[in-house]
Subunit: 192 residues, 2 copies
Amino acid sequence: MLPTEEKLDPRVKRTRGLILQSFGDLLAEKSFDAISVQDVAEKAQINRATFYAHFEDKYALLDHSIRQGFMQEIENRMLNACHYTPDNLRTLIITVCEFLAQLGTDCAQSQRQFEPLVEKQVKLQVYELLTLWLSKMNVNISTEIPATVAAWAIYGLASYWSHSKKRPALEKFVDQALPLVSVNLEQFAQVA
Amino acid sequence: MLPTEEKLDPRVKRTRGLILQSFGDLLAEKSFDAISVQDVAEKAQINRATFYAHFEDKYALLDHSIRQGFMQEIENRMLNACHYTPDNLRTLIITVCEFLAQLGTDCAQSQRQFEPLVEKQVKLQVYELLTLWLSKMNVNISTEIPATVAAWAIYGLASYWSHSKKRPALEKFVDQALPLVSVNLEQFAQVA
DNA sequence: TTGGATAAACAACAACTGTTGTAAAATTTA
DNA sequence: TAAATTTTACAACAGTTGTTGTTTATCCAA
């Protein structure tokens, strides 16, 4: 993965910042599928070959961008410093729902490549967080399968909610959704 | 979607058959990401512009191919003529696991575009099948959320199993997996 | 301060994509 | 059977991608 930012050559830092900023600006203007590497390089005012020195292709750029953006949401809510409780699980479900709503993912044809990549990164991070939480619970049970099921269920629910035409209130939706996820994690719940 | 095959111009039928056959042959030779529309057209011995008359791009071709392939597996097991029971659910989970294993999906870099598309189509079909099953159960509960959670959980489990380095025996794995899915569908189980 | 190392710019290349208008071939319809 | 319609082939076009070797600019370390 990328080296820590503290040890970066300032030119690398500046160029990556330009790329990510331009990419974000372009995403606000048009759909991901309509954006070309050429577009990003031009907006960032760098050479196209320089883009390829930093990112393999535009999909790698999106992966990085989404991962960073979702990580920020997790850190803002200090979810990465938590352990498993139903309340934390509830907050996590809300976070994913809000993140997808804010991205404006929809089924538009022009978004065909965008959503699967968002999904992959967010699911992975949710899985990693759940695994971190569950492994703190001092329960001698493998976390892999429960964390997998919970992560996929959370994303599936969030995707369903963000795609709903008449979107129910998020709090109410999460009231319905939470039991379907927590039921498989009860064995990790701390005895109070 | 495509009109029924009975009413097709024979040239369309022939051309589509050539495209799908050639695509299947190419998938046996190299990864999806390495296959170009040019490759498929050459192997099918059709003009590249004719390819575009039938499929929007190679992703649409893959969507179609996967949907058809998985549909065949469902029909072979007559799962589309069933209603919800834990045994049928078990068979469905096994079907998805075997389908993914047979496709040889892995995390190879060269498969980056393949797996998300497979996932999307298979999840959708699993969701549609579950919705069909649950709606036959004469239970006055909305099927949408339970079917969503179950479909995503099934695919997540199958993906996890097919990616496992030391893959456990499928029967044993499904023994572990089934309760995590069925727990959310118990309200639809028929009172015997 | 200077030399070495690294990052970025540049031009060029081959390949592929997606599209278009025209022509030929094949099928359908009357 | 012949005309109409549809499908496919074709060539051409503009655009983008991914890569490469060379040059220039910038940073780091001694």
